[in-house]
């Protein structure tokens, strides 16, 4: 059974730190090819800060996939986050993310006309200042790496 989030009385997910997401659990962020930029300084590509900007709107956060939940359901996490085709992904540990002041919770997505279901979808909530967005890039490592793309910058 996927993690159930905290909801308000209208059923909307509200920011929370889910107690079943342990500090050592992996938090995966998919990296679309549209998030890649070239940097003359490295003569290669790296990930734009836009990959670590949260969504706006009520209770908006940074969309992620919860690795432990994916694997507990019997799926291979690397296959899950690249099916259908999603180019790459990075992974954080929940503990260091919370150390930066972020909350990590569950936000399962039901199937709709626009998107498939994702019962292992989670959110990272918090104050995404410019400095923190840049530190996020240094807190993660490749999960499904993209050849020639640096995590530095």
């Amino acid at each position: 059974m996927p993690l159930q989030p905290l909801r308000d009385d209208k059923g909307n997910v509200i920011p929370h730190n889910h107690p079943d997401i342990l500090p050592e659990h992996g938090v995966i962020r998919r990296i679309s090819e549209h998030f890649l930029v070239r940097d003359e300084k490295t003569e290669g590509q790296r990930i734009s800060s836009m990959a670590f900007k949260p969504s706006t709107g009520v209770n908006g956060g940074l969309s992620v996939d919860l690795k432990h939940e994916i694997e507990s359901a019997g799926h291979d996490a690397r296959t899950y986050v690249t099916t259908p085709r999603w180019v790459g992904s990075v992974i954080f540990q929940a503990g260091p993310l919370r150390g930066e002041g972020f909350m990590i919770g569950a936000d399962p997505i039901e199937a709709s006309a626009e998107a498939d279901a994702n019962p292992y979808h989670g959110e990272v909530w918090g104050n995404f200042t410019t400095g923190k967005q840049r530190r996020l890039r240094r807190l993660c490592e490749w999960f499904v790496p993209l050849e020639g793309v640096s995590l530095d910058g």
Partner: protein
């Protein structure tokens, strides 16, 4: 007060009585400003065209395509920032219909996050400056024009070195 030939944009497009007057056909305004083709204009327009047509969920989650109004505002802003020879910025979509214009050169980095019309968060860092500086802007981008020149034009010393 600036005096500029206003060519190509009609302020009367919202009027309703244009059918009642006929402008003299030969009175076509001539531009007094030389028409230089911009290096960046076509590349930016093509990229924006692609981004406003992204599918919902293009990021693997629930991202929306770049908003048409945001793309238009970004292009308008670039007209106020870039000279004809300025290299095109890289354009990165956001998940909320927003977008970011980025330059990453040997001299430094600039990121212009267009959150919406009249709402731009600008950041830049010259090489060696890890924190950089930030500005929140609405309609005046004169400062950013200088930022872009600072990192896209060759340093004077390098240009004049023997």
């Amino acid at each position: 007060m600036t005096m500029t030939q206003c060519v190509g944009s009609s302020t009367t497009s919202a009027t309703s009585s244009t059918s009642k007057v006929v402008s003299i056909a030969s009175a076509r305004p001539r531009t007094l400003i030389s028409e230089n083709a911009s290096v960046w204009n076509e590349e930016v327009s093509n990229r924006l065209q692609d981004l406003i047509r992204l599918n919902y969920g293009w990021d693997g989650y629930n991202a929306r395509p770049v908003g048409f109004v945001n793309a238009t505002f970004a292009l308008q802003m670039l007209n106020n920032i870039c000279g004809p020879a300025t290299p095109a910025p890289q354009i990165v979509p956001g998940v909320n219909g927003d977008l970011q214009l980025e330059w990453h050169t040997l001299q430094g980095d600039i990121e212009l996050h267009v959150e919406g019309p009249n709402n731009v968060h600008a950041w830049r860092a010259l090489v060696g400056d890890l924190d950089g500086e930030e500005l929140n802007l609405t309609v005046d981008f004169a400062a950013i024009a200088q930022w872009v020149r600072d990192i896209t034009e060759p340093p004077i010393a390098a240009a004049t070195a023997a």
